[in-house]
Symmetry: C2
């Protein structure tokens, strides 16, 4: 199985967590979306018509979109299940995952921040405010859903004792928001889950800094002062 991924892409990160939790080894191919590699004609024609990461290729089978990939992996490698079988639990796991995937992540990824900066000529400060606004609004909803989930299932993960698809989505979102300098202290449940994941081998294996295509920050760069075209959630 070949996986096309970018180290800092939070959608790629979701798939890496799922693979690591299931103990599935795959061949990783770095696709440098900063350099536009996901838009090159050969990649779009041969790997992923959506012109995005991540993508999986196995023989003649090609698949993009991180949540579709994880659903497919869950059918193929059902241990451990990331989408529970019980109907109501499954529904709530999907609800939290889709909240992150549809209501938070799409607003803050590379192409959007580039369009704001370069096409709409929005200042760096107001672009940062845009990022923090949607991150905070989305994380408030995440916290409300986690409050409900923990009433029924407890922690330390989003839905009880074992990680699910929701954790595959939450950890990269939280990690990138942290890198972008968002104030995440108000989100106590999400913070606790993120701290818990930091010592879990599968989550460590999936971290951006542990990927073969990792690019270290420029010397002296911090989350708050990397160059504007790099300072984006990818």
């Amino acid at each position: 199985m070949d996986i096309y991924s970018f180290f800092n892409s939070s959608t790629s990160w979701r798939v890496r967590i799922a693979l690591a939790l299931k103990g599935v080894e795959a061949d990783f191919h770095g696709v440098n979306i900063r350099a536009g590699a996901h838009r090159e004609a050969d990649y779009v024609a041969r790997i992923n018509p959506s012109a995005s990461v991540p993508a999986v290729v196995e023989g003649a089978f090609h698949l993009g979109q991180s949540l579709a990939i994880i659903d497919w992996l869950d059918g193929k490698y059902p241990q451990p299940r990331l989408l529970p079988a019980e109907a109501q639990l499954r529904a709530h796991v999907l609800e939290l995952s889709q909240l992150i995937a549809c209501d938070i992540h799409p607003l803050n990824n590379l192409r959007i921040l580039k369009y704001l900066r370069e096409t709409l000529e929005v200042s760096q400060q107001r672009t940062d405010e845009w990022y923090k606004h949607w991150s905070a609004e989305g994380m408030e909803a995440v916290e409300r859903l986690l409050a409900q989930a923990w009433q029924t299932h407890g922690g330390p993960w989003c839905f009880g004792a074992a990680p699910t698809l929701a954790d595959c989505c939450l950890i990269p979102q939280f990690g990138n928001a942290q890198r972008m300098g968002c104030d995440l202290a108000p989100f106590k449940r999400a913070s606790a889950i993120f701290a818990h994941a930091a010592s879990h081998p599968a989550f460590i294996k999936a971290e951006p800094r542990n990927q073969p295509d990792y690019i270290p920050p420029a010397p002296g760069a911090t989350a708050a002062n990397v160059p504007s075209t790099k300072k984006v959630e990818e």
Copy 2:
């Protein structure tokens, strides 16, 4: 079963199509997102902690996020299946659905266009260009995925002879892009599917104009000249 929906919301529209295809009757409650009804404390506390539409309530069970709702409905009312059982077909149906739900819809909905106009003070013209830019980029990817799908499965729907989750997502996206004055002629496969759905009873039943909370456009308004705060994909 109670469904909380707004007539023009394309995520609500997805769920309405799924219910109509399955022949499930539900009690519809209009939530006027133009007036901010989805953010009212009572709605957030009692109905949907995500502060969005759609939501489903059945007894003590509450669920938001359209794709989570349709997955739950598919388990509860499996005829007809909107998420196929066969692994590769299922994967591709989810891929196209997630492309629309994550890469197109989130960029063009009400709260985003309001933020562009009101907080970033972007002109109406450049806000319209934003809408059309992301709609066109996303629809190009949709067309490439449909080309692959039709090679294997044919039409008249996204994946062959019967509608799936992908059609539940495509029709509202296409309908709202049309209302917003996007040029959709280049997207021949999507246009053909939209035309096919226009005469299907379930898709007709789910249309915005056939909802109990429908609000007709102001006299003299067209897609191109409705007031700016109304001229948004919802």
